[in-house]
């Protein structure tokens, strides 16, 4: 009974840590991406005679596209740090499958 409780507690703590870190990372990534996209669009729409507008939007979009992978990677690091090898490996395989998917998609 006692060991079940401590096990549940440690799982709850682990979950808390992963969620907090991932949530912070996502908020930062989203804010940076949104700011870049908005700035680039404004420059484009007011007709600034440079290529900086589309570049800013594209960099913002790339940052946004990276956020899902970032959260899996962050979760993996935290799981491994906490000694949860099973979930660390689960995250690693997901990252691997996404990467292979990207390579296959690029060839096709």
């Amino acid at each position: 009974m006692e060991s079940t409780r401590t096990r549940n507690q440690s799982v709850a703590q682990e979950v808390e840590q992963v969620e907090l870190a991932v949530s912070r990372l996502l908020r930062l990534g989203t804010s940076v991406a949104a700011a870049l996209i908005a700035a680039g669009l404004l420059l484009l729409l007011i007709g600034a005679p440079t290529t900086i507008g589309p570049t800013l939007v594209t960099v913002g979009l790339i940052a946004l596209v990276c956020t899902p992978l970032l959260r899996v990677a962050a979760a993996m690091v935290i799981y491994l740090k906490l000694g949860d090898v099973t979930y660390g490996l689960i995250c690693l395989s997901v990252l691997l499958f996404v990467f292979i998917g990207f390579l296959i998609g690029e060839i096709h």
Binding site: V22, S23, G29, L64, R71, V72, I90, G101, G105
Partner: protein
């Protein structure tokens, strides 16, 4: 149309897509692709690339709030993500060998069945009498969150772990084969088979769809299909909608969420059946 008005119109449409998508755990692609092609006259490639960006924006925008409210279950999401990413890989390999027409009809049938199940469970607030299987216990596919609509903490544990993982594989494969987002498939699978609370299913699906879409979005970037003037306003609008939607969803009752789901599943079923007829 004036370029500023045009951008604002895309922004507004995307806001709605993000709002609906984040509340129901879908990517919003079922709204973005028809809107961009039919309303704004963009070609299919541009629309699909913008839609992949929209799926990621919905996922990221909503996950910030759902993680804070502890509704997303990261363990369940990561575990099931093995199925959907592997499925997407298989989908790319078997794409030429399976007749798309049959797959569209199959998908339509599954969605119609999901709509029927949602309708039958329309008054159910939380799953009852769930007996967790051994794998779910071993992997600790459980959690709890404070339900703002019910005013109490809800504790849950998943069941049907292997069938659930298999359905995620199917959802990933179908998404790869048919180019349709897996969200409309993932939420019913978690709801009906794994017997998770509907809010947990929605939020966890939201977390997952972004990861699967990241591969396809990167490919569209490399191919140059991502148009900054289209994908930019789509991303901003969807992000805004997702932030609003995720705040709204936590206050709704589970049964209300189910009612919102039924017409959407029927719409996807009809859309897939139509594609089966015309393909």
């Amino acid at each position: 149309m004036n370029p500023i008005l045009h951008t604002l119109a895309i922004l507004g449409t995307s806001l709605v897509a993000g709002l609906v998508g984040s509340m129901l755990g879908l990517g919003g692609g079922i709204i973005i692709v028809p809107a961009l092609t039919l309303l704004f006259g963009y070609d299919f490639r541009t629309a699909v690339a913008a839609s992949a960006v929209a799926i990621i924006a919905t996922s990221t925008g909503a996950t910030v709030a759902y993680l804070r409210d502890h509704i997303t279950n990261t363990r369940i999401a990561m575990f099931l993500e093995i199925g959907s990413t592997l499925g997407a890989l298989s989908g790319a390999f078997i794409a030429g060998y399976l007749p798309a027409r049959i797959l569209f009809f199959l998908f339509a049938l599954l969605q119609a069945y999901a709509a029927y199940s949602m309708f039958r469970a329309r008054k159910t607030e939380l799953p009852e009498g769930v007996v967790p299987d051994r794998l779910s216990q071993r992997l600790q596919l459980s959690g709890s969150y404070y339900d703002k609509a019910l005013g109490r903490t809800v504790t849950y544990q998943a069941t049907g772990t292997i069938p659930g993982l298999f359905l995620m594989y199917v959802s990933g494969a179908l998404a790869g084969l048919l180019g349709v987002g897996g969200g409309a498939f993932k939420v019913p699978a978690m709801d009906i088979v794994m017997r998770l609370p509907i809010k947990v299913s929605t939020a966890t699906s939201n977390f997952m769809i972004g990861v699967t879409a990241a591969a396809s979005a990167s490919v569209y970037f490399v191919r140059g299909d991502v148009e900054p003037l289209v994908a930019g306003p789509v991303a901003l609008g969807v992000l805004g909608g997702a932030i609003l939607g995720s705040r709204l969803m936590v206050k709704l009752k589970g049964s209300t969420l189910r009612l919102l789901f039924i017409p959407l599943l029927l719409y996807v079923a009809l859309q897939m059946a139509w594609k089966g007829v015309t393909s």
